[in-house]
Subunit: 355 residues, 2 copies
């Protein structure tokens, strides 16, 4: 059953493969990949590098993938267009960067109060998520595949404790995107500030709080030195990046190279998730050793309830505007409802009884 | 960094690959795989099937893998020997089936009170676990790779509630292996009973309790119809199966087919984990719909403490007898200590605040 899922778009491929090698042409395919990340970005940037190396090795050199980082192509948030137009053959990015252009792509990264990474992978590969993602990308001449999970994201660094919904009123917080819209709905003032100015803005009180990623990325930013409260997760319980492929480039590849490429995506994605967990664990240990005064806090139930309600309202608006959005959101809600009941009696119970 | 891990044993392979295809010989390699499972075993048996199909597709037919199930080779628990001796080239099994033969293999499946699947994958691929596993298998002319996770296992079905350590005294329970030894140490009477007799033994009171796997496998066994208490996990928080490769067979493969095979192992393993989560969630929903009277219970803290203490004592005995066992157990304990602190503030906090 799941071998069909692995093959994904490759239905019928095995029919074309005889049991004796067909002696495929040794033509070398040189593909260009545009990534959203800057050169040498850890974790996020390792995924396309691992993928390219693996594809080259498995194809015995017939697939050669050149990676251009944002420093080179100058369009970090334009990877969708670069691959759609054919300027690049492949992309590695996160779908929420182009939600303004194609709103339905938003649902394949991570949803507030939604599935965590393992639940979401089960949805992608076993629960129909991958097929829905292709439905969204197909009209744009693109294929999209999970590109690696950056692990559960923390709720952010706060200078003061949040004890009630009142404490959020007028709170200036760097929190972009959909989570920012939710924050606005509950009374806060989300702002967007370039990464290079974040530390100073927080230090000087231009903002009261910010969310970044998790310990692996937060450590080097140093926010823990100036904001003592580290809030737990709610808005990105398992952010998945994406590999994009120009459909015409894909169609021109021989069947074995298509399977090799899709498989290289999967291993690189899985490996990025392992790496993110590893680096988060190591960085969190370092942070706490250096700053034992960091206070980890859950948002109070009333605050979570308010954010949850705002989230539901925003999603309902989107579902009403677009039948495909409704289909995707319904699929996710239904899947989450079943899988979380299992998570609750298995993993959650295990973690809760282990102290 | 992690591309090195993906390549695993393949250090230096990329040097041998020129940037232009070397036009590898089109020799077809026909490999035989022995699996522990019976024909058409779901989930466990899907992993080697998915692996074989993927390896064939990626190699354009140069890798042909025939799978023999236990019905054929008649040695379900002897896969280690079948591959070591060269009777089979590959195997798919679980390392705890040969812990009597090579005790140190036990540590690469799942440890009581140990890492859950995602933590353990991070240990395998980022924390040195894979290298330690190869150290254990190397003297036996074998390579071993993670072969798919069957997800967190439940603590089992009990006819009566367990309220204290006293309730365990003399309790007759089907619980094999290392977990059985722990149960014996806390006063219970572990027994082993063939799967086909389990239902009747539980129904007639020959045993008071049993552990099997999780909802996906338990559903068809029907235990929930006769034992109302379903206890949460402690002994196998993320059971990983294994792919085995005969070292000589591996060494004879061309470099590109080695990478293809190792990659097919990884994707099949990851896919099995996704499938196990999916099937557990669906089966748990079915079980509860049919039998809403099922009571999910955590073992009381005193019982967990007693089992934890017994586990520690048994592991210490093993560490004292063998330096490599000590190295592996220390590596796991150190890794768990760091990664669980991250899990606690991320995933656990997320799950606990979502009600």
């Amino acid at each position: 059953m799941s071998s069909k899922k692995i093959a994904g778009y490759l239905v019928g491929v095995s029919l074309a493969l005889s049991s004796v090698a067909l002696h495929a042409e040794d033509k070398v395919y040189r593909l260009k990949l545009a990534e959203t990340w800057g050169a040498n970005t850890p974790i996020l940037g390792d995924a396309p590098k691992n993928m390219a190396k693996l594809a080259e090795q498995m194809s015995n050199g017939r697939l050669q993938i050149r990676i251009d980082s944002a420093n080179k192509h100058k369009a970090p948030l334009g990877v969708f267009d670069l691959v759609k137009s054919g300027q690049y053959d492949l992309g590695h990015s996160s779908s929420y960067y182009w939600k303004g252009k194609v709103p339905n792509t938003l649902y394949f990264s991570s949803m507030p109060f939604g599935m965590m990474a393992t639940e979401q992978y089960a949805w992608f590969y076993q629960g129909g998520g991958l097929e829905l993602m292709q439905q969204v990308y197909e009209p744009h001449n693109l294929l999209s595949f999970p590109g690696g999970n950056s692990d559960i994201q923390m709720g952010g660094w706060f200078k003061n404790e949040i004890r009630s919904v009142e404490d959020l009123q007028g709170l200036k917080m760097r929190i972009p995107g959909f989570a920012g819209e939710i924050f606005a709905k509950v009374g806060a003032t989300p702002t967007n500030i370039p990464p290079s100015e974040l530390f100073m803005s927080l230090e000087r009180g231009t903002i009261d709080a910010l969310e970044w990623v998790g310990p692996a990325f937060d450590l080097r930013m140093g926010f823990h030195k100036i904001a003592p409260y580290y809030y737990t997760a709610w808005h990105e319980p398992g952010s998945e990046t994406q590999f994009l492929v120009n459909k015409k480039v894909w169609d021109d590849l021989p069947a074995d190279l298509q399977v090799i490429l899709e498989t290289a995506f999967r291993v690189a994605a899985f490996d990025m998730y392992n790496q993110a967990i590893h680096e988060n664990a190591q960085s969190w240990a370092k942070m706490k050793a250096e700053f034992p005064t960091i206070q980890v806090r859950d948002f109070p139930p009333a605050v979570l309830d308010a954010m949850k309600k705002a989230n539901q309202e925003l999603l309902q608006e989107q579902a009403q505007q677009d039948p495909l959005a409704k289909t995707i959101l319904d699929s996710q809600a239904e899947y989450l409802s079943a899988v979380r009941q299992w998570t609750d009696i298995s993993l959650r119970a295990y973690l809760d009884t282990r102290e």
